[in-house]
């Protein structure tokens, strides 16, 4: 970095965990530190889903995060579902879920049974966790079966890591 200040360097918005190197000083000695040593970057994605789509969301999951690059994986961490009006809560099958598209398992789950407030999508634990698949997209779906009634459009937001293997 001879004779250049930081503000003169090319800006990048990308993060390459295994290929990036940061300059750090420890005890007056210069070192390089890989991007993978830093906490993961948190990304965000949202998708509006109509009532008709919600009522078919078990039969037809909808993509919310497009495919990770080859050798990378999306890991959803938290989410929220918001409701836009309507007059009837969704009924019967109401576990809104986020999963890895090619192997749908509940990575995040939240309820759409009460439309009065936004509901959290939280991680699903358990001994047999269903991890995300490398190179896969993330999809929104309703667990078990389609909701039987309900008439509110929803907005689903998910926060997720995208990590290199």
């Amino acid at each position: 970095m001879p004779n250049k200040s930081i503000s003169q360097l090319i800006f990048t918005a990308d993060r390459e965990d295994l290929l990036d190197r940061f300059y750090v000083v420890r005890s007056s000695t210069d070192y390089q530190l890989p991007g993978s040593a830093l906490p993961p970057k948190l990304n965000i994605a949202s998708r509006s889903i109509t009532t008709a789509q919600v009522l078919d969301l078990n039969s037809t999951p909808l993509e919310i995060v497009s495919n990770a690059p080859t050798g990378w994986v999306h890991i959803p961490v938290r989410g929220v579902v918001e409701f836009d009006g309507g007059s009837a809560d969704y009924a019967a099958n109401t576990e809104l879920s986020i999963g890895s598209t090619t192997a749908l398992g509940q990575l995040l789950v939240g309820s759409i049974a009460d439309r009065t407030d936004p509901n959290a999508l939280t991680v699903v634990s358990g001994a047999s966790g269903t991890p995300s698949v490398s190179g896969d997209s993330l999809s929104v779906y309703v667990n078990t079966g389609n909701p039987t009634t309900g008439d509110s459009d929803i907005l689903v937001t998910v926060w997720y890591y995208t990590l290199e293997l």
């Binding site: 300059y23 070192y31 390089q32 993961p40 994986v73 890991i75 001994a127 995300s132 190179g135 293997l165």
Partner: protein, 167 residues
């Protein structure tokens, strides 16, 4: 740093809270030079990273300083397959040395990559025993189910935690 590139420097695998970095901040239209410390800039928590070669047993620990507790904020992993895989489930275990508290993660040892979070196994909801004891290290280990054992591939585990000094 004249004529020396970052990649010429000796490599670190993890950062220390007091490691220094430089930055420039625009103030009143002028770029001013500063340095800061990673712990000051990111927050006073640690990021532990371990690249597990799955041909060897996973057995490492995060050492707890005397007089402190270790509190995990979050943990995740990525799995990259090798040429041979067993289809067995691989368990990642993060527990206090007394075993009274733990995080777990699990993935199938298959031919495509995986990634996921490690979850608290105990202590969901109010608990009197949600963390390890005073001075207790955190042990990182692996287990599996089914016959055979995974012996190829790599798994990178990253854990964010704080050192907590009790009253």
């Amino acid at each position: 740093m004249d004529a020396i590139r970052i990649t010429d420097l000796p490599a670190l695998s993890s950062y220390d809270l007091r490691d220094k970095i430089n930055l420039q901040r625009q103030e009143a239209g002028i770029w001013n030079d500063y340095h800061t410390e990673l712990g000051t800039y990111l927050g006073e928590y640690y990021t532990w990273v371990y690249d597990w070669d799955m041909s060897t047993a996973l057995g490492d620990l995060i050492t707890c300083p005397v007089g402190k507790y270790l509190v995990v904020l979050g943990a995740h992993y990525t799995y990259s397959p090798g040429a041979i895989f067993t289809s067995n489930l691989v368990q990642l275990l993060l527990s206090s040395s007394s075993g009274n508290w733990s995080y777990t993660g699990e993935f199938p040892h298959v031919g495509s990559g995986r990634g996921g979070l490690l979850f608290p196994a105990f202590g969901s909801g109010p608990s009197s025993n949600i963390y390890g004891d005073l001075d207790e290290d955190l042990i990182v280990s692996s287990g599996g189910t089914g016959s055979g054992s995974p012996d190829q591939g790599t798994c990178r585990i990253q854990i964010q935690y704080v050192e907590f000094t009790p009253l």
